[in-house]
Symmetry: C2
Subunit: 198 residues, 2 copies
DNA sequence: GTCTATATCGAGATAGAC
DNA sequence: GTCTATCTCGATATAGAC
């Protein structure tokens, strides 16, 4: 059989391109203001062809969420290579600060998506966003527990809420410096938590 | 002249009713999923008549923001009656915790609105949301400054970001308990800030 | 000032040729 | 599997009677 890969877009990675495009465009424009045409254009796929891969717009939103979930998995897998849990947590904060410009412009991808999806009456997808946030929460909790700290769940909540808060403020005020300032505060906080453990 | 007040809706408080309805419905459903008809229905005003008071949907969003701004002004005016700044700040956190059920269901009215408006390409309204958030930021900064603390602006940012973070998390995870837990943490934080000042 | 009927337009989704 | 043309519907906004 001849492998009839089209020259314009070799192979059938169209689904992946559409998924990546959905994640990116929805992050920038929000769910409601993003049209299928916007995503198709970014993915360089004809509009009508999108429906071969995704039956509905909601399927594309779901795909965008999966993309964010994947990115989060990669990130935590990377961080897990670091020897100690405190270093992992501080590195996480460092990653957030490094992405300050994106956060100041468009907010946290998952957080802003959760806000939008929670406004929907038709349930389902909003809980998907919550699930992704919970993955981060659970990972952070494991680190705090490994450090032998009391109430690791509360600490994880404080950390992730801190991230969501600083992302929202940086986004609303369009000021990346907020990520830097609040990131530094979170780092100091992590240090004080473990100051008497060493 | 006879004061021809209609029996169904006495006087011309329709504008106010529409403004209140816009604030409430937009908080619940979000900007994009709220239709003029939704607002008109809630305000008990015929759809077509809305345009006599508000030329565009954006004007209604602006009105909703003004409503939130008014509520914030009333709240801070109320808090300003308390004798000391620390008491005011702790009372503010108390108000946030008291509204935990609303926050868990629909998030912070201004915060979620800011998230949605920031996704728009056509500017203008997003900065209006930012302005309202800044009012709270400035009020908090004045309290921290009155307490004689260093970097009052940073402290105000931490407080408001804390509120936005816990509101978003409570909303995404649909858990009012998050408001209680994080509210308690903010209160403890306020106490430690001023522990060596007394 | 109030309200109904409707113009207009954009977006999601589908039919069906290739 | 791919893509164009089109159906359909819902929402903003307007025209114009009362």
């Amino acid at each position: 059989m001849t492998d009839s890969t089209k020259p314009r877009a070799r192979g059938a990675d169209k689904r992946r391109r559409l998924t990546a495009a959905a994640a990116e465009v929805i992050h920038r424009q929000g769910v409601e203001r993003t049209t299928i045409a916007d995503i198709a254009k970014t993915a360089d796929v004809p509009v009508g062809n999108v429906y071969y891969y995704f039956k509905t717009k909601d399927d594309l939103i779901q795909a965008a969420l999966s993309e964010h979930e994947g990115a989060l998995s990669e990130l935590t897998a990377e961080l897990d290579r670091l020897p100690d849990p405190l270093g992992r947590l501080k590195a996480l904060v460092g990653v957030w600060v490094d992405q300050r410009d994106l956060a100041a412009r468009f907010g946290c991808p998952t957080g802003t998506l959760a806000v939008e999806l929670d406004k929907r009456a038709d349930g389902g997808l909003d809980q998907e966003a919550a699930r992704v946030i919970r993955l981060l929460l659970d990972w952070a909790e494991r680190q705090f527990r490994a450090l032998g700290l009391a109430d690791p769940g509360d600490l994880a909540l404080t950390l992730v809420a801190g991230y969501q808060g600083m992302s929202l403020m940086a986004n609303a005020l369009r000021d990346p410096g907020i990520m830097t300032r609040e990131g530094a505060r979170l780092t100091r906080w992590l240090d004080t938590l473990t100051a008497d453990v060493s």
